[in-house]
Subunit: 330 residues, 2 copies
Amino acid sequence: MTRISILGAGSWGTALAVQLAKKHPITLWEFDPTQVEAIRKDRENRKFLPGVPLPYNVTIFNTMEDVIPHAEVLIFAVPSRFLSATAQQAGKFDLSGKHLVSLVKGLEKGTHRRMTELIAAASARYASLSALSGPSHAEEVAQNIPTAVILASADSGAEPLIEDLSTDTFRLYFSSDTAGVELCAAVKNVIAIAAGICDGLGLGANTKSALLTRGMEEIRRLIAVMGADERTVSGLSGIGDLITTCISGHSRNRHVGEELGRGRNLPDILGSMVMVAEGVDASSAVLELSRAKNIEMPITEAVCRVLFEGSVPAEEVKRLMSRPYKREFE
Amino acid sequence: MTRISILGAGSWGTALAVQLAKKHPITLWEFDPTQVEAIRKDRENRKFLPGVPLPYNVTIFNTMEDVIPHAEVLIFAVPSRFLSATAQQAGKFDLSGKHLVSLVKGLEKGTHRRMTELIAAASARYASLSALSGPSHAEEVAQNIPTAVILASADSGAEPLIEDLSTDTFRLYFSSDTAGVELCAAVKNVIAIAAGICDGLGLGANTKSALLTRGMEEIRRLIAVMGADERTVSGLSGIGDLITTCISGHSRNRHVGEELGRGRNLPDILGSMVMVAEGVDASSAVLELSRAKNIEMPITEAVCRVLFEGSVPAEEVKRLMSRPYKREFE
């Protein structure tokens, strides 16, 4: 038994709490006091994970004092735009001896810092720092549908966590390529928007598969330039996560793309969503990074043109199909 | 304009004929005279590609004399079990100066020869020999849904074909890794059966994505041992083709898996299908090869146990989830 605390009671934080409560006592921190009250009263997160009862050994608090000091494993599960502030607040506690894990997917605009880099910057000392990523829609994890993910850390002290955080229906693999795993996690959401656009346009499986594959090739080029392990892109946190995003009805990024493909505009789509579509913020950060590093990322560019410049999706597909003939890998 | 002949009027051969007829005159050879008559009369392949009219410049014959001598590009599109015989028959003609292309997916049982190896063995001389593979369901190619595939050849003389065989909705990339592309094409059908089993069991997107990703890792290990380019597995002929197989309703291999997952047995399933599920034959050939080369392929093994030994699919999923904890890539 390990004392685990999770910061952020969104759908993924809550689902992981439910899953890990099979083996460990969990404390969950949520910044919104109204949500904390509602979850306490209902024993269910009706806003972000409806229909899933919270096990008895999951306790939810509004104050970090109640969740951080006793934790052996501290998991960050807030939206990317709140991570820096949350990490700074958590960093005021003594985190030495604690294993920190990030579930957050994104890339900071302007600085292009990865999510664990934000956490590291805010924390003086800790036992290990990892990123957890992979094909893991929260709704399915909460329903005990078999799921496999990656825990990536440069700290070898994090490796035993893969057994500790695994259950009979949730299996972790270890990777030492944190940068690769986090870059995949951020960029795959951009490609998921592109896949959604295909769906919205009524295109078929051939087009979507080609787009995902060429999208992964963009991520591979990015990863290579950033000095990470190119193989990561073909693993669970790369293509694995992208596939689940694209075949599942649960993905918010795919949903954004689908609505764009149908002709709706971005403010209208985002205005009607409860949850965050991380790919929208990630798109512009990834585009910035690709330009700074001079990496060819035609699909990311097309997604940004559709998202932010009102470009017509069908024209972008034609443009991608008529690029110069070339070899698959350069 | 290039004179193109296609051997085999199954769904893929017919769809490619329809697509390439936008740019080139096509002759199509089919071994079954009844089918030749029916297609001539209907100007449509009602058995394998119903609903798609044949363009005026596609001509179908029952005799190789009518299609091979004038061809500049000769495309093999028969089921894998008939390829050797077809190639031997074609090899009696003078093929010097002709570009040979294989659309066939499989691995010969016993010898583990790849499809282009069967063609090479039967042909004395030719200008180039390539394998064409990737996410290309025939039904969608025939409907002009944008599609991207790989043309792989050790002969650099084949590279200009990528422009010649591309159209506005069908785009080729070049690869020099023929072995990698053909091994991917054969093994991905085995993994597609596994994905179908997931569907038949009612499992979700997380499980299927994990299975596809870990399946690709098996293929990567196989490709590495066979001396091919590991990157190919993350390209169009690897994960790309696998994704389309797994998200499309058209895949026969996925269909076989789905019915197995629902509890039907193999002879019963195969007995009710018109088209060939190449993954069934490929499964045992791949298993043989993995044992001969001592490569760990747990998903392929599980598929073979379900296919040929009556193992219970749900038990195989449990078994895969409870393997020892490990790193993602070894």
